[in-house]
């Protein structure tokens, strides 16, 4: 009368078939592709990938290349600034919108629409706005401030800040949205309690509301950070890496090495460095997010 347990492989077979694309993507493309690139970063692949191991030679060359060093420096400045400013502006806008104002929807729509646009469009618009002959500089000068100087795209020292302005225009709406969601997630009784206790509003925000929004902040930081590492199209459209190599970024270095310079090994090494930087961001987050959760049961 007893029945054996049927073969587990065929149990839930339909679900497994349906999940096949996910399984293939996860294993072949994501895990496999990443491993492949890391492996080939230790070879001297040129036009075509070949398994000719040269140890860390590609990495030594990478860190001796001025263009890569500039890229890293740019990424660093751009990353820190865009993290700070987008969080700051995003939070302030969200807090302003959260004051029971009129036309909240209109303002929100205005702040968020750039996020729907591509980085190419963003880069090109700001290339035009920052054009020294016709753009903001020219307009302000025509108003009488003859010595007004605002020409970031053609000044190697500050070009990355020109890119930053465009990036903030495109992305702060997203941060605002996430922050607003966080603010709205806070129990209204907290506000009432703070009012009854006579705590001024700025103090309520600083010492009560912001600490309560910790998860939202962490999520937002992770989102922004993982986006920063990838920044590519914006630079291509706005400055093409110029003037000279002043606004190069790692993602662009990788692309150029792989598809323009036929120097695959360099591309693989550079992309592996990008991977490493993401890992450095992700691991503490994953620890906070999931390690912490486990502790609370």
């Amino acid at each position: 009368m007893t029945q054996r347990r049927p073969n587990q492989l065929f149990r839930n077979l339909n679900a497994k078939i349906a999940a096949l694309p996910m399984i293939l993507t996860a294993t072949v493309v994501f895990a496999g592709g990443t491993a492949w690139t890391v492996l080939y970063s230790f070879t001297d692949s040129g036009l075509l990938p070949k398994l000719d191991f040269v140890g860390l030679a590609q990495y030594e060359r990478l860190w001796g290349t001025p263009r890569w060093l500039v890229s890293i420096e740019n990424l660093f400045i751009f990353g820190i600034c865009s993290l700070i400013f987008s969080m700051l502006i995003g939070f302030i806008l969200a807090a302003l919108l959260d004051q029971k104002i009129r036309f909240e929807n209109t303002f929100r729509t205005i702040f968020l629409y750039p996020f729907a646009l591509s980085f190419i469009v963003t880069g090109l618009v700001w290339q035009w706005l920052l054009n020294p002959q016709f753009g903001i500089q020219a307009v302000v000068r025509s108003w009488g401030w003859e010595n007004f100087n605002f020409n970031p795209l053609y000044n190697a020292d500050i070009v990355i800040y020109g890119v930053l302005i465009a990036a903030l225009w495109q992305g702060t709406g997203l941060v605002m949205c996430l922050m607003l969601a966080g603010l709205r997630g806070i129990d209204e009784d907290i506000w009432k309690a703070a009012r009854v206790d006579g705590i001024p509003m700025w103090k309520t925000y600083l010492f009560i509301v912001i600490p309560m929004m910790r998860p939202v902040f962490i999520t937002t930081i992770v989102l922004i950070a993982s986006g920063i590492v990838r920044v590519y199209d914006l630079v291509v459209a706005q400055t093409s890496g110029g003037p000279g190599i002043a606004s190069e970024v790692p993602a662009k270095y990788v692309y150029d090495m792989m598809f323009a310079s036929q120097n695959l090994g360099q591309g693989f090494a550079a992309s592996t460095m990008m991977l490493l930087s993401v890992v450095i961001v992700i691991i503490p987050w994953a620890y906070l997010e999931f390690g912490g959760r486990k502790r609370h049961g």
Partner: protein, 362 residues
């Protein structure tokens, strides 16, 4: 072998054992209630019987057919859920017909069966409505109808009345009982944490705790002869009084708690007879009488009234017997007040005595 039987059923999620070597045999046409507090595994057991959970080990038979690894649809069961689980985008009619359509029942047969179920459950006028337009009671009727149309051998109920308010619950309880009387041959397994539902509906009750069945028996036995302290404490509201003490053997067995001595010459000890040592004496509040009613009881004592809880029909009185809390019921019309000293009495034959160590009934 009965209509539904479960042999050595074992289920674990990782290291957690949810059901432990569980045996259960339900006769055809029987109404079995699985009763227990939340987390005891009663719903899990029901889901295993339905085939909604893969078991770790053991066998399940329905109508003498081994269905351990069959899909739910092939087991000849219908199921009613706590949250009604009606398909929101379908009309009542669509909900009732869904299972039949899946089974490939011809169209005119479907409409015949839907009409019959609608008549039995008085939901005829609602057939064209969507679930969102129905009240809770109506939704649960539809959910029952969904099981009814499929003409199944076994009905499984998973806390079907828990989302309803008290009045509707009582109404539907009777309705389910009527339905069971009408469908004589249909086996019903009913999961609940509500002991009133269990007592009123069940032919037999299985009390579950921590993945195992504590006691399986008819409501009368469960109530009067609980096998252990847990079952005694779980069944009955207000719950049974427990008095801790020792069992002593003289010419006759005596239960001693402080200065109180309760003679047990009339108590029917089970099995090997009375033992000695630590024990718990359990007496239900409704078996303790006061004043006149206490006069001819074998055991009598004088107690002080501490708290009274009038409940309309009767009044619950809280007092102490040698430091142990003692609650008892008196008629709602009786005049008692805090601080009164009254005589109470009960018959030890109606009590339950549990071993201090094993907590099993003696």
């Amino acid at each position: 072998m009965g209509s539904v039987s479960v042999n050595k059923l074992h289920l674990s999620f990782g290291d957690v054992e949810v059901l432990k070597d569980l045996d259960l045999n339900v006769e055809q046409g029987e109404f079995l209630v699985l009763l227990g507090s939340s987390g005891c595994g009663k719903s899990t057991l029901l889901n295993c019987i339905a085939g909604l959970l893969d078991i770790t080990d053991g066998q399940i038979f329905i109508k003498e057919r081994n269905v351990t690894w069959e899909q739910p649809r092939d087991r000849g069961i219908g199921m009613v859920f706590q949250s009604y689980a009606l398909y929101p985008q379908m009309t009542v009619e669509g909900n009732l017909a869904f299972g039949l359509k899946n089974a490939g029942v011809p169209r005119d047969e479907i409409s015949k069966r839907v009409a019959r179920a609608a008549e039995i459950l008085h939901i005829g006028p609602l057939l064209k409505r969507k679930p969102a337009q129905l009240s809770g009671g109506q939704r649960q009727r539809v959910a029952i109808g969904r099981a009814l149309v499929r003409d199944v051998d076994v009905f499984l109920f998973d806390e079907p009345l828990s989302n309803l308010d008290a009045k509707l619950r009582a109404e539907l309880r009777v309705e389910i009982k009527r339905l069971h009387q009408k469908l004589e041959d249909t086996t019903m397994i009913y999961v609940t944490h509500d002991q009133i539902e269990a007592m009123t509906l069940a032919d037999r009750i299985a009390i579950m705790r921590a993945g195992a069945i504590q006691q399986l028996g008819d409501p009368h036995t469960i109530y009067n002869k609980p096998v252990n302290k847990y079952v005694a404490g779980f069944v009955g509201s207000p719950s049974i009084n427990f008095i801790g003490g020792t069992l002593e053997q003289g010419s006759e067995p005596v239960f001693v708690a402080g200065s109180t001595k309760i003679g047990l010459e009339r108590y029917a000890f089970s099995g090997a007879g009375p033992t000695q040592g630590k024990a718990t004496f359990g007496i239900r509040p409704e078996h303790v009488f006061m004043d006149k009613g206490a006069e001819d009881q074998p055991f009598r004592a004088e107690v002080e009234v501490e708290v009274i809880e009038p409940m309309g029909a009767d009044t619950l009185v809280w007092s102490r017997l040698d430091g142990n809390e003692l609650r008892f019921r008196v008629d709602g019309q009786t005049h008692v007040k805090k601080g009164d000293r009254r005589w109470i009495g009960f018959d030890p034959a109606r009590a339950s005595i549990f071993d201090g160590q094993t907590e099993m009934r003696l």
